[in-house]
Structures are given as structure tokens and as C-alpha cells.
Symmetry: C2
Subunit: 289 residues, 2 copies
């Protein structure tokens, strides 16, 4: 019988690319991962990995098995969720990941509602950029996460992750009437690798130019302070722009950002996940949208 633990390692290898990265994700040594994958290959009776020097890539058979691993792990997740549901209402630790703006604006009322409704639940929040959410969910470091997706930026596209939409909000540009009008300005974006960074780049590309990025700042309050000081222009979401500093003029753009809850596929039936999504949605009407 195929071992789901080994299948999980194979799936992680398919996503992360190196055995070392898989080992880090599951807090094993690379040696252990290597041994497990070798054993899986032996049981499979067909090469799954191609070793070329110091790198390793999946064979077509490997990719095929990853597809099946996905289905198996999803079913196991469903079974666990069903057990959690039969154990009773939401209880125990619930690890929540959130991007900074959500952590500040959405989570306080949501968590108040959540712990009020389910005293046995122990929510634990960690800040995380949406770009890293899929990996953290798959690795079991998080149970549910708040993420956003922008126009121009592909949404979470991971077969093992499921999302539930929460709300949308418009985007604003500082001090210019349109993205095209900021063609020759200095830009303030998020750090490379974050979703906010990609979002700004893609929006400018869609307007026909490559932005000149001068400052990499993740916190939108700081971004607005920079803009107020005339250091550049930036795109900010509504939630971060309810009280702009004096001297910053915001123009609403035909761009939007959607916020979603993400969790492992098959885990949606888990009562704690359901309670969290409900709490998030309950908190949304109180937001200054």
C-alpha cells in the first residue's frame, strides 16, 4: 500500500523543486526526504525522479503520481475534517495567517466574534504574505489564511488549496489621475516577491510602460507617508486609504482587490474553518468600504 506520508513529500517536491526545500518545509533533514523518496520509487516500481548531477526533477511518471497523491491527500483531509465535525463544535487551536492590512483591520473584530461564539477555539495569528500562503497551508503550518488577489495578478492557483471569497474593494492611486499619467514618476511598491509588488508592476505594464520602482515598502501607512513627502506614487487599496495623510490626493481607479479565505482542499468541512470564514464575513460589514 502506498504511504501517504511519502506521497506528501513527492507532492512538496513537485512544488518546491529541491529536496532541501522539502526537508525544510517538513522540518526533516534532506537525508530523510531522500531516503523516503527512494523508498517510494522502489515501491512504485518505476523511476519518479531524474537525478542529473546535483539537481533532481520529476519524471512524467512522477508527475502522474503527484496527481494521484493530490487526490489521496484531499480525501484524508476530508476524513479528518469529518472527524473534527463529529467531535463537536469548533475547538482547539486554529492557526490563522493574514496579510498585514487584514491583520490590523479585519482580524480584531473577526476574532472577537469568533472567540465569543466559540470559547473553546484558540485562534493563533501569524502575519504572512499571500504569496507564501499556499506553501504554509500545505505544510500544515497554517489552517486558514486571508489572502487577496488583484486584477492582473493570477489568483491562488494550487490544486491543493481552496478559497472562499470575503469581500472586494477598489484601488486608489496617489496624486495622479490615472496609472498612465504616472508613466514617468518614481514608484513605491511592495518588496519583490510580494503580491503587492507584482500587482503594481502588472498594472503599469497593462498601461503600457515599465514602472521605475524607487522604493520597496510593504506597509501602506508608510507608503502613504512616502507619497505625502513627494517621494513617489503608489497604488493603495481602499482599506489602507481611509485616512490619507494631508497632501496626498487619492484617485479611485477601475481596479479592484478581492480578499479571500484560503484553506486546504477537503478541509472546508472542518467546523473551525467554517466558523472562521463565518466570523470573517461577519466582520466585513463593519469595515469602512
Amino acid at each position: 500500500m502506498l504511504d501517504p506520508r511519502k506521497l506528501h513529500l513527492l507532492r512538496e517536491l513537485a512544488r518546491r523543486g529541491t529536496i532541501a526545500a522539502v526537508a525544510e518545509a517538513v522540518t526533516f533533514t534532506p537525508s530523510a526526504v531522500s531516503q523516503q523518496l527512494s523508498a517510494l520509487e522502489r515501491e512504485a516500481g518505476v523511476p519518479l525522479l531524474e537525478r542529473t548531477g546535483r539537481t533532481v526533477t520529476l519524471t512524467p511518471a512522477g508527475h502522474l503520481l503527484v496527481e494521484h497523491a493530490q487526490a489521496v491527500l484531499e480525501q484524508l483531509e476530508r476524513a479528518s475534517a469529518a472527524l473534527a465535525a463529529v467531535r463537536g463544535g469548533p475547538a482547539g487551536p486554529l492557526r490563522i495567517g493574514a496579510f498585514p492590512t487584514a491583520a490590523r483591520v479585519l482580524l480584531p473584530p473577526a476574532l472577537a466574534h469568533l472567540t465569543g461564539a466559540h470559547p473553546a477555539l484558540e485562534p493563533r495569528v501569524a502575519e504572512i504574505d499571500p504569496a507564501d500562503v499556499s506553501a504554509a497551508l500545505r505544510a500544515g503550518e497554517l489552517d486558514v489564511a486571508l489572502v487577496h488577489e488583484y486584477d492582473f495578478v493570477p489568483p491562488v492557483t494550487d490544486a491543493s488549496i481552496e478559497t472562499a471569497p470575503l469581500f472586494g474593494e477598489p484601488m486608489y492611486l496617489t496624486d495622479r489621475p490615472s496609472v498612465a499619467a504616472a508613466r514617468s514618476d518614481a514608484w513605491i511598491t511592495g518588496k519583490p516577491g510580494t503580491l503587492c509588488h507584482s500587482m503594481a508592476i502588472r498594472a503599469c505594464q497593462a498601461a503600457g510602460f515599465e514602472p521605475r520602482v524607487r522604493h520597496h515598502v510593504d506597509d501602506f501607512d508608510t507608503v502613504l507617508a512616502f507619497a505625502a513627502a513627494g517621494l513617489g506614487v503608489a497604488l493603495v487599496p481602499h482599506l489602507a486609504a481611509t485616512a490619507p495623510p494631508p497632501g496626498v490626493r487619492l484617485t479611485r481607479l477601475p481596479l479592484s482587490r478581492r480578499t479571500l479565505a484560503a484553506f486546504r482542499k477537503g478541509n472546508g468541512a472542518h467546523p473551525a474553518i467554517g466558523a472562521a470564514v463565518t466570523a470573517f464575513r461577519t466582520a466585513v460589514p463593519h469595515l469602512p468600504l
Copy 2:
């Protein structure tokens, strides 16, 4: 993460009813099964078994988990079948179960065709009554089995077993024009617990009487010899009635028997299973139906 091996034990317990029977099926000691199920309960966090004295029954939560176990094991079976397919054509051992008539009539030409088309395949045949097929398939003692279903007898009804129809044949009654006309005769049926036994009982019940069963004989040649000796009447399928002994008159009834190939759900994509079903079907046209 839930362990599929433990889930398999729970599923077997749901079918077989006692820990001792499960242990016998998987060739463990009852102690090992008991320990594994206790561990599963601990991981599940909810009672799955109810111990009342020396017997054990599944709780509702236990039954729920069995449903999920079924889905998980089916996905694992699919994954294994996909690997077997990617390994190449049908090869290796293939354990085939068959009821006696099929073993004598259908299997010789089917196996000739099978090994001719796939020399790397090593078919191994074991005679088995259709009533025991599901358990043997689930336990992994067989890979594919020939079974039959009669009118009046419910077909294989096991969520973990899948069937592929092969052929149907009419049934015959010895020395009487109809079942109703044999109301007061002595009957020859299969041994209690076999499908042939149930079939005869149900057919008589449908005709409005309870048969007086005097002889329990499984082999249809022997049955016909008994009938020729005037020891009773019997229902025989066409395949067993192509050369009745002198003195036995056969009447074709509006009853039929269907022969099917059975295998574990999810295993249908296994190349050896596919090849076997094809071979069975190829052999059917040569049968004296």
C-alpha cells in the same frame, strides 16, 4: 495524518463484525488489530468502537469514518493502478478467483488467450464461491474474480467492489415444467451460504413455497447425476447443462444468471485487470450458450 492501514482495519471490522475475524483476514493476531484500532480512536479523538463485554460494535462516528476510509482506500487503489499502467503492459502475478463452473468452462480458453497476449502475466487461479469474493478481494487475496448473480439474489453490494458484466445465460429445471410444479418435490441445492443455495430458495419462495431441500451438492455434474437417479429436482445454469445425463429432461425457465468480473474499486485502470476482463469476454463467444 490518518493512517490508511488503520482505516483499512476499521473498514474490515465494519464488514466482518469481530476483531478476531479482521485479524484472521489480514493474518495478524487479534491483539495487533485491537492495538491499531485503539490507536486510531486516540488519533480520531472520538470513540469509534463500543465495547460491550466481549463484543465490539461501531459507533455512528465509526461508521462515518468507514465511509471516508472507503474513499481514501479507493484513491490509493487508483494511484497503484496508475503506477502499474505506467510500468508498461500487464505483467506479474494476477490472482484470479472463479466459481467451479467458470473455472472449468470459461477459464481455460480465457487464460490461453491471456497468456498468449501478455506473456509477462502470471495468472494464478483459485476456486472460490461468489459469496466470499468481496472479502477476498478486499483482503488483497485476489485481484479479480468471476462471480454470478441470479434473479432474486441481490448482486454484489459492497461499496469497495466494482463489477464488469461478461455474459448471461438461462436457467433450467430438471424433470418438471415449472418451479411451481416442483412444490412437493425433494430439492437439490448448493451448500448453505453459497449463492446457488440462496438462488434456489428465493426462486421457490417467488413461486410461493418453501422448498424441501434434501441434498446439498455444489458441483452441477453431481447435481445432474442425482437428478438422473431420481433423488430430487434442481435448478442448473445453461453452462452446466449442455450434456445432461440420459433420463434428465431440462426445461428452460424465464430465469437467468449473469456472470461478471469483480475487482477492487479504483483498480479497473490496472492493465492486468483490463487484460483479464478482455480475455474473459473474448472467451465468451466460444461458450455453448
